[in-house]
Every structure is written in C-alpha cells, then in structure tokens.
C-alpha cells in the first residue's frame, strides 16, 4: 500500500483554521527561521481517514482475532471504559493546574480518582502505598529498582547486585542494569521455577534485591516463594514482584502477603486497558511501609477535611520519574474496570483465566510437548521440539496460525524452553473459541507430520508473506 507521503498533492489540507483575528503579524529574524519546509504530506481529511482505515484492516486485534500472546494478557477491552476516558472534564485538564495557587481545588475529581485507584491496588496486592507515575511496566520496574536503591542508600548499605531467574522477562535485567546494578541470572530447576539451591548459593551480602514473576513466565507458582522472600530479607535484600502475570492470582494470592516489598502492575494487562499496538500502558508501583518515604513526587494525599492535594516534599524521595502523575487516561479506564467488576468480578477473572489456560493445556498436550506441565495457572508453554524434528519450527507454526485468523502465541520465550510457544488465552475467550484453537493446533500438528514442507509458504492470506528481516536491518530504510 502507498505511503501517505506518496498521496500528497500540493495545496491540499485536512484542517480548517479560523481567520486570523488579531491585527499583528510577528516577523522573526532569518537566523531563527527554518530554511527548508517540514515536508509533511498535503492531503485532505477524507484521504487521511481512508488511508488509515485501510491500514487498520491490515492488523490483527483482540476485537477481531483470538490473541493468545503469552505474558501479554490480551483480554477483551470493555467499550465502556473507553467512553469513560473521553469525558472532557478529564481530557481538557492541564497537568500544571494543581501547581497554581489553590490549584488542587481545580482538580479534586482527578486527584480523588488517583487516590481511590491507589487504594484499590493496595488491597488487591497487599501493599501499603502506590504511585501511579510509571508509564509502562518496564518503567515501573525501573522506578521499583530505584526505590530499592534509595532504601539501601539511606541504610548505608553498599549492595551491588540484583538476582533474576533465567525465565524472567527481558525488561527485568535491563531495568536493573540501567539503574546501576550488576545482574546475576539464576537458572531454573527441573520443575521450571528458580532453582532454590542455586539461589541460596548466589544470595549474599552483596544482593540488593531479587526480581521475580510469580506465577512465572511458564505459568507456574513457585511453592518455595515464602522461603525465598524470607531468606532474601534475612540477608538484607528486598523482594521485587513483576506484576505482569497478576491476572492469574486476583483474590487468590497477594504479593504483599508473600513478602514482596515492591510490586509493579501492568494496568494494560490485568486491568483491561488496551495495548494500543504497543502502548500507552501504565505501570503503577506499590510498596511496603518502609519504602513509602522514597516514593516519587508529587504524591497524592488526602487532607483531614476529605479534600485531596499533592505533596511535593522531596526529602527522601527518588524524585521525579514522570513529569506529572503518570498516564492518567489509562488509569481512568482501569479504575472504571475495577469498579464495574468489584470483588467477585476480579476473582472470576483469575478463576476463568486459569480454567481457560488449563483447558487448552490439557488438549494441546496431546499434540505438543509440555516440558513444564504441572499446575499451570493463567498461561503455559508448549515446546515445538517434536514438530521441529520434521523441520517445522515454532515460527512456522505461528505463521500457520495467522492463516487461520489466530494471532500466534509468544514464540521463543521463555528462553529456557526450546521452540517455545507461550499461550495465555485470558478469561474473556469463550469455550467455542478455545475448542476452535485446539482443533486448529491439532490440524497444524498433523500437517507438520505429513507435509512439513508446506509451512514455508505460510502465511498466504496476509497482505504480505514472510518478510526479509535481514534485509531490513542491512538496508536500514527507516524513514521516507
């Protein structure tokens, strides 16, 4: 399809401006002015709308396709919460308003929502306080590691390293490293959880913290988790909970009860805000009491008279990690979602997410290897090793699924499983969709057995076939 720039024709425009109503014209000295015009396309509104509508039709999305992308929690995004986020009394609100004199009184509604959301997230996770500032999951991880660093600094501790299991999300080691820590990777054991002995061996005085996902990326709940948090605490370290997989445990387990000190949550996963093709998300961070003084500023506080205000006191705080209060528009959707579902609704989310995952695992294990099969919660990982022996790899299975109108699982992750296919159906898929997926996967397994060579021709039904990624990296044509 043509690029929008290729549709540009001189003189066309997609916006109508009001006539200039002021009697002055500002003229700048030449040295301040741009020489070459910014060559944005000249196109009319109908052309722009048609162009992007056509592009949208070249995408898979949750509304149109089953999207069992593991660890990404691609659940249905309720239309109601989209409507809530468009209320003009929120969208038109300037973020600096509360910094004007008596300005917090101009934004009482927004501050109350942030405060209420923080409260709900505390109860859901068993933490003592939350900040909504982080703008994505990885941003929450960075903020969380900064909190751990601030805590140790104040205690006078000089701890240099963070332990992370080898099944952890790539963002964990990346976040710890950019915050200034040395990362040590701990191998998994035969059951797929962090090897307890190897962990004990690695745990020493130099360990500032341990970052864990629980259930982990294999969907397995670590039965030794309390022992791990206790051991870490007794050696002076803190526990970080990567909340990417929180959809598995709502109302069942709380990271705070397990002994975690810092938690981040992905509102765009568990709390049903849309992923937007890669954001915006929101990654609020919760902490236990001893870490509250280090939370980023400003903090939303409730005054004795019931009104809300912002506290800019920076004394022990890690400071500013966002310009304001985080992705407020995303928070609105998550808050509305929590209110609609309520206590039982949230419990239902996890129960049904776990049921759907176990249902799929049960039937798919007839056709594919399940290397870590016990007690999966919201997701599980298949290995395509059996199929790979025939020359059909995880990526080939992924492309075959695309031709069936199903978005592929996360492939080649976690790194500890060969030919990994990580499947997370979520609670919003019907039994019929799951049954269809099972029959498609069975058919793919049969094809892999009988005619493995045809997989190289998949996908056939998409606007383009398999793309040459090596060429893209070599040519580096990244703007036109």
């Amino acid at each position: 399809m043509e690029l929008i720039f290729e549709k540009s024709r001189p003189g066309r425009i997609g916006v109508v401006f009001p006539e200039k109503d002021v009697p002055v014209t500002c003229v700048l000295e030449t040295k301040y002015k741009r020489n070459a015009t910014a060559e944005l396309p000249s196109v009319s509104e109908p052309e722009v709308v048609r162009h992007f509508t056509k592009l949208s039709k070249m995408n898979f999305g949750v509304d149109s396709n089953f999207y069992p992308l593991g660890s990404c929690t691609m659940k249905y995004n309720p239309k109601f919460t989209e409507k809530i986020a468009q209320i003009e009394d929120f969208t038109a609100l300037h973020p600096l308003s509360p910094q004007l004199v008596r300005g917090s009184m101009l934004t009482q509604g927004a501050l109350e929502i942030i405060s209420n959301l923080e409260g709900a997230l505390c109860e859901i996770t068993g933490m003592d306080a939350f900040t909504t500032q982080p703008m994505a999951g990885a941003h929450g991880e960075l903020a969380g590691v900064m909190l751990i660093a601030a805590y140790h600094k104040q205690k006078g501790n000089n701890k240099k390293c963070i332990l992370i299991p080898d099944s952890g999300h790539g963002t964990n080691p990346a976040s710890a490293a950019i915050a200034g820590y040395i990362v040590k990777s701990i191998p998994s054991d035969a059951k797929g959880v962090m090897d307890l002995n190897k962990f004990k061996h690695a745990l020493n005085d130099d360990v500032a913290g341990v970052m864990l996902t629980c259930p982990n990326t294999l969907g397995i709940f670590n039965p030794h988790i309390k022992e791990i948090t206790d051991l870490t605490h007794s050696s002076g370290g803190l526990m970080y909970y990567d909340g990417a997989n929180l959809n598995a445990i709502l109302g069942k387990v709380r990271p705070g009860d397990l002994g975690f000190d810092v938690v981040h949550i992905n509102l765009h996963k568990t709390f049903a805000t849309p992923h937007g093709g890669g954001g915006p998300g929101a990654g609020p961070v919760g902490v236990k009491k001893e870490l509250i003084p280090f939370l980023p500023v400003p903090r939303v506080i409730k005054r004795n008279d019931g009104t809300f205000a912002l506290d800019f006191e920076e004394e022990l705080s890690i400071g500013y990690i966002s310009p304001f209060y985080g992705n407020f528009g995303v928070m609105l959707k998550a808050y509305a979602y929590i209110l609609v579902l309520g206590k039982q609704g949230l419990i239902d989310v996890s129960e049904n997410a776990v049921l759907n995952a176990n249902y799929l695992k049960y039937y798919l294990s007839k056709y594919y290897d399940v290397p870590y099969g016990e007690n999966c919660l919201h997701e599980f990982v298949l290995s395509g090793e059996k199929q790979a022996k025939k020359g059909v790899h995880a990526i080939d299975i992924a492309k075959a699924l695309i031709d069936k109108g199903i978005h592929p699982p996360t492939v080649y992750f976690p790194l500890i499983v060969k030919e990994a296919m990580m499947i997370e159906p979520t609670e919003t898929e019907s039994k019929e969709t799951l049954d269809e997926f099972i029959s498609v996967m069975a058919e793919i397994s049969r094809l892999a057995e009988e005619t493995p060579e045809i997989f190289k021709t998949f996908p056939k039904t998409t606007p383009v076939g398999r793309l040459d990624e090596v060429k893209a990296a070599r040519d580096m044509n990244i703007s036109g």
């Binding site: 995408n59 397995i220 609609v340």
Partner: protein, 447 residues
C-alpha cells in the same frame, strides 16, 4: 458475568473434561500452599456500567476544566481535529499488541514507519524511533545515549531546559557516576560563555531546549559547532508545533533531537498519556533506544514493514540492552502522525504563525497595563514571561475566579523569579479572550 463468556454450565463441563470431576474451580489453584492464600481482598461489590459512569461523571465535575487557559510550560491547549479520535477508535489499532508478528501487523508497522518519517521531516533529522514515554524520559534517554556514543560521563545542561525534565534527569541518574553541570539562564537565550567555560574533552553532551522554558527562541548552530570541536554531542528538546516556523534541530546540526509530542493532537489529560519523540543522526542509530520499524520485502518482492535493529532491545539483549523500554506510546504516536497528515506542511506553518501572532498581540495588550512588564530581551514563539508588581500567585488566584488560568508562577521552580509569570497563547485563544484576560489582569492588580 462481566466480560466473561463462560456460564456456570460451561465451567462445569470444562472442569470435568480436564479431569476435575468435583467441578470445583479452586482445584486449579492447589499448587498454591494454603498458608500463602490472600489474607484479605476487601473490595466493594461490582456495579453496573451506568452506575459507575454516573459516579465517575460526578467526580469529573469536581474538576475546573472549563477555564480559558494561558498555562503552557511545555504542555499546550492546541486544537485536536475530530478525525484523530475517529481513526484511533478503530479497534484494529487500539486492541493490537506490539507488532511482533509483522504479517498480522502491517497496519501498525506502516503507521510507525510513516510516523518515523514525519518526525524526521519535522525535525530535519535522519532517524527516529517508534516513540518513548514522554518528553522528559526522552531527554533522559538522550543523555544516556550520548554517554554510550561518546564513552564520556559529563553532561552540561542549559538552565532554560524545562525544570521538571531536569529534575527527572537527576532522579534517574542518581546512582550512576555522571557529572552534571547546569548553566544559569537569566531569562533569555542559552548562555554561551557559561557553556564554553565547562565544555571539555570529557563532555558527553550539552543539553538545550528550543524554545526554552521561558519561551525564548534561539539559534543553537554556534553552540553545536563549538561542542563538536570537543567531540561532545548536542541534544535539543523541541516543541513540535514551533517547527512550523523555527529553525529545525537538523538545520542547526543537532545530534539528538527529543521532545514532548502532546501538542500534535494529544489531549492534555492531566499529564498523560503523552508522547516522547527522539530523532538522531543516522550514524548513531544503533545506539538509539526504543523500537524502530524498517522497510523490507517478502519473497514476491512486495513491500512490507518489520521491527528492525532489535539486537539493541531488552527482549534480546536483556541487561546489555540500550534501554529497558518495551511498551511505548504507540497509539499516541499514531495520533501525532494523523495530526501531522491532516495539518500538512502548509497547515503547520499556518498554525505556528497564528500562535506567534496571537502571542505578540497578547504581549502588546498586557504591556499597556500599569506595572506589568513584558520581557522582550529575546524573541519568543508562543510563550513569554511577564513581571508583575504583585505576587503572581495571588493574581492567578483572582483570575481563576473569572474562569481564566492566567499563567504559571515561575517562582515555583526559580527562586529568584518570584514576581514572574509564564504566559502561553495557542491558536485556540481568540482576540476577545486575550482582551478579557488583559482586562481581568488589570482589574486584579489595581481594583
């Protein structure tokens, strides 16, 4: 059940099928030791959508969003064409994930490629990423990138850079050994003498902003030339709408341009979601953080788009990645792209000129008021500072009673500027609104 298709009968049938004959769903959680089960889950019962909507609308009414605003400070009340909301409401865009599977994501991928192209054209730079969180984190990422590129660890930062962004930069780097030097700005352009005083062969980057926080515009070409002699990079944070008229970072020879993309069709929304953009010289692209989309083709030589240069990223490189960023602000980048398409090259010039003209008109109106001094030491784009004969906080409070948000009190971030207020004027402010503002200000000062 809310948004869950399965009925009780479905659940029973599914449980039975997988060998849980009791039909008790709790059996699925038996891997979790009893002693670790949630000690509390005290949340209110769920409510219907219309009850929740009513409640949230009541909260919304507690906000004063109907003010005529002259507050900017890096975040502006520009017009947002309706077609943007309409297009981004297509669920094929907003319910998709990061485009890891290119054949099923050509819509998102082509849009990102077009976004990268539009950002390059706007900034006059060679290579853009797919987006970062916001203007502040983009500036932080730019500083870290300059440190990677040069292998040096000293940063000189202009005092005219948004004070919130400066605070963010210090927060993020507090545990890293980076030396920061901040050069003072009175309230005009970048202080050349001060920058050159500290510039040496240990300097990784000089960080500038144009227009700066006080609205002053500058031509940083001379600073770039001096920095390059020392092997230091120059980072400039820019205001995209101003680039309709102002010299672009590319034309000044800037190495890394960043900025807040909110003004490109994204609502103010009490601070987010916004859009951080970053555009660089092509030779630095492998050190750039964030996702990047490139052009390639399939077996039949059909043009297609993929995520490229992924070996920089956390999902491949883990602790050795250029950044930890994963989710970015894709849908906001799409908004910005649609805005740039609708407004086009002629419209961008027009909106920028309208901003400048209305700003100049506001200056002329305000400086006729007794005791009000409009600072004219440097040219400005659409924001400027005024000195008031009375405490700005008090005056701002009085004007809010008249439904006018007069500006931002600079004393909040600059101790020595207690009497100053920052005033922004966008194309949305009318002659009549500006007159109303002037009248109300005069009234608040002298009546």
């Amino acid at each position: 059940m809310n948004y869950i298709p399965q009925s009780d009968a479905d659940r029973k049938e599914m449980l039975k099928a997988i060998g849980i004959s009791s039909g008790d769903i709790n059996e699925l959680f038996k891997g979790i030791p009893e002693s670790l089960k949630a000690s509390s889950f005290d949340l209110p019962a769920g409510k219907s959508e219309f009850e929740v909507e009513k409640y949230i609308k009541q909260l919304a009414k507690k906000n004063a969003s109907e003010l005529i605003t002259f507050v900017g400070g890096g975040f502006y009340d520009h017009y947002i064409p309706a077609a943007i909301d309409s297009i981004v409401s297509r669920s094929e865009f907003y319910t998709a994930y990061t485009p890891y599977q290119p054949e099923a994501s050509q819509g998102t991928l082509q849009a990102i490629y077009e976004y990268q192209s539009a950002i390059c054209r706007l900034t006059g730079m060679e290579a853009s990423n797919a987006s970062l969180y916001d203007g502040g984190t983009a500036l932080y990422e730019a500083a870290m990138m300059a440190i990677r590129v040069t292998g040096r660890n000293k940063i000189i930062m202009d005092g005219g850079v948004n004070p919130i962004y400066r605070k963010m930069l210090y927060s993020y780097t507090t545990n890293l050994s980076i030396e920061f030097i901040e050069t003072p700005v009175t309230h005009g352009q970048s202080n050349r003498g001060e920058i050159e005083k500290y510039l040496d062969d240990k300097t990784a980057a000089v960080i500038l902003q144009n227009p700066n926080f006080f609205g002053a515009i500058d031509d940083h070409t001379d600073i770039v030339d001096v920095c390059h002699k020392f092997g230091a990079l120059v980072v400039e944070s820019v205001y995209p709408i101003s680039l309709g008229v102002l010299k672009s970072p590319g034309e000044m020879g800037i190495d890394i341009a960043t900025g807040e993309g909110q003004s490109l069709g994204i609502p103010l929304s009490f601070g987010g979601p916004y859009l951080g953009f970053m555009a660089v010289k092509k030779k630095f692209v492998r050190k750039m953080p964030g996702r990047i989309v490139g052009i390639t083709h399939d077996d039949e030589l059909r043009r297609g788009f993929v995520l490229t240069l992924q070996t920089r990223e956390q999902h491949i490189r883990r602790e050795k990645a250029t950044s930890n960023i994963c989710s970015n602000e894709a849908l906001c980048a799409l908004r910005a792209l649609i805005y740039m398409c609708l407004i086009g090259k002629d419209g961008l010039k027009k909106v920028a000129q309208l901003c400048m003209d209305k700003c100049e008109y506001a200056k002329q109106k305000l400086e006729t008021i007794k005791g009000v001094e409009v600072k004219r030491s440097s040219p400005t784009f659409n924001e400027f500072i005024i000195r008031l004969p009375k405490n700005p906080n008090e005056i701002i409070g009085k004007l809010i009673e008249k439904k006018i948000a007069a500006g931002f009190p600079l004393g909040r971030y600059y101790k020595e500027m207690d009497c100053y207020m920052l005033v922004a004027v966008t194309e949305k402010r009318t002659k009549q609104e500006i007159a109303l503002f002037a009248e109300a200000l005069e009234d608040a000062l002298w009546n």
